[in-house]
Symmetry: C2
DNA sequence: CAATATAAGTTTCTCCTGTAAACATGGAGG
DNA sequence: CCTCCATGTTTACAGGAGAAACTTATATTG
């Protein structure tokens, strides 16, 4: 039982442990101002150990963002599966899952779309983001085939949809959406407005 | 003629000079990773001088963001004035001005909406942001009064509109909007989709 | 108009960070 | 059993944030 041992020289899975610590700090502070040394400290290793697993600080941040995109994708997929047969219902479910994810993980969500998680410099991150984006794209295509969504260029549909969902998520995070009550009503209403424009 | 003097001990308007330098660096690098010391260096003063004008580094960043909101507001107001009499046209003009501003000043735009420009910690910044947001709100109200926009809760209208415009701007900045061509077409189409849902 | 208070700069100092290099360790394969 | 290598550790260094103490020009006041 290696978990009862106090401190074996070799951690076992330091990479994972560092990621977990960093995710925890991100969730606690809702920002990624933490220092690499602090992450190492809290993980119980020397301040140089992380460099055996991440080229530099940004590299760790990009890995956090990648995990964020994977989790977001899972949340959206799950919500859409449970969201009824109608594409419109599925869309609403997926969008609310995205906004809910952002509200539950504001720091992580911000990091995912920040310049510090540069997708042009990290293929795995880029792929994860595209994969999650693809979930939306496939739903739009399905809706068009079924005749639920207007047959305009898929790019325009995607731009409008993604902008709306991501925009709402960012506004929700900033608290700019909840002047009086943080309820789902304005979000739902905004999505309905979009869908009224989207649908045939 | 004080401007011909080489280096008077008192700069004259160091605060403004620091802001200009920082804005230039922000525009050059499209990020705000620059250090306060570097700003001081390029402005030709000692590294401690900025602290006479800004409590800390973040304080300077917030001031940059405030200026960004003012400039964005001016750009949107100007575009809307020149955008025809129809509210729908005005909306399109204002939205495109916002997206154009973001594309011309990606770094500044990102900073304005980043957690580093914390609006809850800076009244002037908060006010500037609200003032610019108010431009959109007033247009929506005008549109409702004229009967151009659907008479749903103004909050829902605002959420949908602001999310769409801001979302498109962020996507445009990230280059995620221009898979093949960076043309205005997808943006215009996305705005039309929104307006189809917004209008009566 | 001199004396001086004050705003605006500068120097110096401390603590901390990111990151490189050299060194240590212990588990896996010959 | 012995040696290699991935994974840790120690040590070292260049820079940055910000505080404190010191300096200088400008504005005020008797």
């Amino acid at each position: 039982m290696p978990e009862t041992k106090d401190r074996p020289y070799h951690h076992g899975d330091l990479r994972r442990a560092l990621i977990d610590t960093a995710l925890a700090m991100l969730a606690a502070d809702q920002n990624w101002a933490f220092t690499l040394r602090e992450v190492a400290r809290r993980t119980g290793v020397s301040h140089a150990a992380p460099y055996k697993h991440f080229r530099d600080r940004e590299s760790l941040l990009r890995e956090l963002a990648r995990i964020g995109f994977i989790r977001l994708g899972q949340a959206m997929t799950a919500a859409m599966s449970a969201g009824g047969a109608c594409v419109r219902e599925k869309f609403i479910a997926g969008a609310q899952a995205c906004i809910g994810f952002a509200l539950c993980n504001p720091g992580l969500y911000r990091l995912m779309f920040s310049a510090d998680a540069d997708k042009t410099a990290d293929r795995p991150l880029h792929d994860a983001a595209m994969e999650t984006f693809g979930i939306l794209l496939r739903l739009l295509q399905e809706g068009q085939i079924r005749g639920s969504f207007r047959p305009i260029a898929i790019n325009a549909l995607a731009a409008a949809s993604w902008a709306q969902v991501h925009g709402l998520a960012m506004l929700a995070i900033s608290g700019q959406l909840a002047e009086e009550k943080v309820g789902r009503e304005p979000v739902r209403a905004a999505l309905d407005v979009l869908l009224d424009g989207l649908c045939c």
